[in-house]
């Protein structure tokens, strides 16, 4: 089995990943950008543009050139995807703890999550890409519902001061977001054809960033920046899900949006990791999928934490993605004289 994805499927998958990952990055994982998260996303978008344009350069095929540079490139993508999957699986564990599922065993939850992720990756790019498009539609419906029912509670002055945590911190936030966005564009490296249309990466990046910005603005409009004072992931998630004032009925769509968004991103990275592993080793797709899931399971349940170097790792993702794309591009040029 070859893990493959068409252009028309990679685009919505990447857009969904960009939207969810950027939002998770600036609003939940790194708290200090809280009410200025939307600026970080816009800054990250500008920084990620060169990468998108590079991915969009003309040239068909899976970017697989058959050169010596191919394997290191896929290794970089693999490392990036596995790291992201581990972060997301841990995030899911924390979310489930908060959302009334605290009696669940972490091992059981992780196993089920990764089993589902693996099953979906085995469905190949068609299932994941088209599923991401459906998720986009469901997302718009649920989000519109949430926004419309809360519009009278919005406090526009909570968006200010725009430079909230300071210019230096904002710049770092933009770099980190660029790293998250770059990672979320990696499924586009595997696209088999150009059915995604012209500027496939640019379009998915723009669409994803627009959605993530809207989400961040929504969150900022509903929560005072004081929330960052009691900085803990759970309290921010609390602000996001319950928001202190959100009606109980409204929490349901938000919880659903949250879980489906994080899970969609996990699926995208899971697929990317498995496909990169296949690119490196040439093994059967199923073996790669379950191999990658096993590795993620081990990493999720170990005590290893990247919290100390988190900012560096996030920024490093940007460089990793650029390096991988450049390596694949060089390979492509050499392979097709």
């Amino acid at each position: 089995m070859i893990l493959s994805i068409r252009g028309c499927e990679a685009r919505p998958l990447s857009a969904a990943m960009v939207a969810a990952r950027a939002f998770i990055g600036v609003s939940v994982v790194t708290l200090e950008y809280f009410n200025t998260g939307w600026i970080c996303i816009l800054g990250g978008f500008v920084l990620a543009l060169p990468l998108a344009l590079m991915i969009d350069l003309p040239g068909k095929g899976r970017f697989m050139a058959g050169t010596r540079l191919r394997k290191p490139a896929w290794a970089l993508v693999f490392a990036l995807a596995i790291y992201e999957c581990t972060v997301l699986t841990r995030l899911i564990l924390k979310s489930t703890l908060y959302c009334g599922l605290d009696q669940l065993q972490p091992l059981g939850t992780t196993l089920v999550t990764l089993a589902f992720c693996g099953l979906m990756a085995v469905k190949n790019g068609r299932g994941l890409g088209n599923g991401a498009r459906i998720w986009g539609i469901v997302f718009l419906v649920l989000f519109s519902l949430v926004v419309l029912s809360q519009v009278e509670n919005f406090q526009f002055y909570w968006l200010f001061p725009i430079l909230g945590p300071g210019v230096r911190s904002l710049a770092r936030g933009c770099l980190e977001t660029a790293g998250a966005l770059a990672g979320a564009m990696t499924p586009l490296l595997f696209r088999e054809d150009e059915t995604g249309g012209k500027h496939c990466a640019l379009r998915s990046l723009s669409a994803g960033c627009a959605v993530a910005t809207a989400l961040c603005l929504y969150e900022a409009l509903m929560s005072p920046s004081l929330a960052m004072g009691s900085a803990s992931q759970i309290s921010v998630l609390d602000a996001l899900l319950a928001n202190g004032r959100a009606s109980l009925a409204l929490m349901l769509p938000i919880v659903v949006l949250w879980f489906t968004g994080v899970f969609a991103t996990l699926n995208g990275y899971g697929f990317t990791g498995a496909a990169a592993l296949q690119g490196m080793t040439g093994l059967d797709g199923r073996v790669c999928v379950w191999g990658a899931m096993g590795l993620i399971l081990i990493l999720t349940l170990t005590e290893i934490s990247s919290r100390k170097w988190f900012h560096i790792v996030e920024m490093g993702e940007y460089l990793l993605a650029i390096c991988a794309t450049v390596l694949l591009r060089i390979g492509k040029r050499r392979a097709s004289p």
């Binding site: 599922l101 999550t113 469905k123």
Partner: protein
């Protein structure tokens, strides 16, 4: 079939009456097989033999236009071209063809034709004398509509093809007849429209039909399982209909129709998820009414799939998400119920399935009583006896109703099975389980294909289409060629 029989089937008519007759007798296991009739007639001194299957032919036609016509032939048969002579000069049956291969003659006789062998003729004559008992065209029973045509397919392939021709009157309508199965071949007709039906999908179908190696294919349901893209998937990837108007509408949308003998249904492909949700009266009624009915159906599907699981997740794990007034009501109604929610739900679902199955199997009049007993006695008494909470009965009843809003039976069963899976995951993981289950179902459905076409087309991946998926806009806005037509981008 033994090697000897297979060899015999491949042989041609020799022109020697004794030998040909013996070959046919062997093929039909005569004289053990009493249904086969071999009637010898003299035609001006030459031996002629009519071979037919008792009960499959119209006797009067054989008597008047074959036996009597041969006996009253005005002149002796010529030495050369006796088969042609019989067709043009002697036999009075409109549909007649010369056939040399014994296997084909055998198949013709099994289908209700009469084979006429003549001494010295190197071909037999196959005459259309079909006259077996069959059901007439009646109202479609399982796919009834309020507005629109009421006729349904029957068990006769000929009648079904005629119905299709009546609903789609075009010279471009092409019917390919073939048979599947090696031991008891089933007659299958592939109906398509030249210039409209997607040739790629048609080619895939032909390949799959050719690949069938079963001894016998029992009806169109089994045929569907043999030719659809993913037989392991819960979702049917071909649309089964008993309505000729629906099949004709599919033909004009670029889909092909497969009709089989002895099955009052037709298969339509390539089909999308949305076509499974559509009924034929959607298009017949005004666009507002049609859209309204579809939206109701779509909501019914969602409620049926998600409501029981959601209730389970909320009551088991996320009680904080339930408004206080509702939570109080649920708590009050459950106060005297000794079982946990999941057990109650399992009990209720089982009762519902059993009532449903009993209703299907029990003869008509009693079936209605079973429904009433199920609803009143089981439901009401169980609630009064505090075995099941009334809210749960309401939830199961609503989700059951949602299931039966669907136009196709297989789609209904699919919803029930998916619902059970969702309930299991909700029980294990609450709302997170619900999200996982929905994500997996969406991914599974999106990964399917129907004869080379993505199952969620034209939504995912997006393809140009008419405004006719869930909401149907007026007919004058439906100008685009639909997704399955040839020439459209795949």
């Amino acid at each position: 079939m033994t090697e000897e029989m297979a060899r015999l089937r491949r042989e041609a008519v020799s022109g020697k009456m004794e030998k040909d007759r013996a070959a046919l007798e062997t093929l039909f296991h005569f004289p053990e097989n009493q249904d086969i009739q071999l009637r010898e007639i003299q035609c001006q001194g030459s031996r002629v033999c009519a071979v037919f299957m008792d009960g499959m032919v119209r006797s009067s036609q054989v008597d008047d236009f074959i036996v009597r016509a041969v006996q009253r032939a005005g002149a002796p048969m010529p030495e050369e071209g006796r088969g042609k002579y019989l067709i043009t000069q002697v036999l009075n049956v409109a549909q007649a063809q010369a056939e040399a291969e014994l296997g084909k003659i055998c198949d013709g006789v099994l289908g209700g034709m009469t084979a006429v062998l003549a001494e010295g003729a190197d071909t037999a004559v196959l005459l259309d004398t079909r006259g077996f008992e069959k059901r007439g065209v009646e109202k479609a029973g399982n796919e009834s509509v309020v507005l629109g045509a009421q006729e349904g397919f029957t068990e006769s392939i000929r009648t079904n093809l005629t119905l299709l021709r009546r609903y789609y009157q075009s010279a471009d309508l092409v019917t390919e007849m073939l048979s599947v199965g090696t031991e008891a071949p089933l007659k299958v007709a592939v109906v398509s429209v030249e210039g409209i039906t997607n040739p790629r999908a048609l080619e895939i179908l032909r390949k799959r039909l050719r690949k069938i190696r079963c001894g016998a294919v029992h009806g169109i349901g089994q045929l569907q399982q043999l030719i659809e893209d993913s037989p392991w998937a819960l979702v049917p990837q071909m649309l089964m209909t008993e309505r000729p108007d629906r099949a004709a509408a599919a033909l004009s949308d670029g889909q092909f129709v497969v009709v089989a003998d002895c099955s009052p249904y037709a298969l339509i492909a390539p089909c999308s998820f949305f076509s499974l949700l559509q009924a034929s009266d959607d298009a017949f009624s005004r666009w507002q009414y049609g859209s309204y009915m579809r939206v109701v159906r779509f909501l019914g599907m969602l409620i049926s799939l998600l409501l029981p699981g959601l209730y389970l997740a909320l009551t088991e794990y996320h009680t904080f998400l339930i408004p206080v007034s509702l939570l109080t009501t649920i708590a009050e109604t459950r106060a005297n119920v000794p079982f946990p929610v999941y057990f109650e739900m399992l009990l209720m679902e089982l009762s519902f399935f059993m009532i449903n199955e009993a209703n299907l199997r029990i003869p008509g009049q009693i079936g209605t009583s079973v429904g009433i007993i199920g609803a009143l006695v089981l439901g009401q008494t169980a609630a009064e006896a505090s075995i099941i909470s009334p809210i749960l009965i309401i939830i199961i009843a609503i989700s059951g109703l949602g299931c039966y809003c669907m136009p196709g039976h297989s789609f209904t069963i699919m919803l029930i099975l998916y619902r059970l899976g969702i309930e299991a995951l909700c029980l294990a993981l609450g709302l997170y389980g619900l999200c996982l289950a929905v994500a997996l179902i969406v991914c599974q459905v999106c990964s399917l294909q129907s004869f080379g076409w993505d199952f969620m087309t034209p939504l995912a991946p997006h393809r140009p289409h008419n405004p006719d998926l869930i909401v149907r806009l007026p007919a004058f806005l439906q100008r685009k060629k639909v997704y399955a037509r040839q020439g459209e981008k795949t």
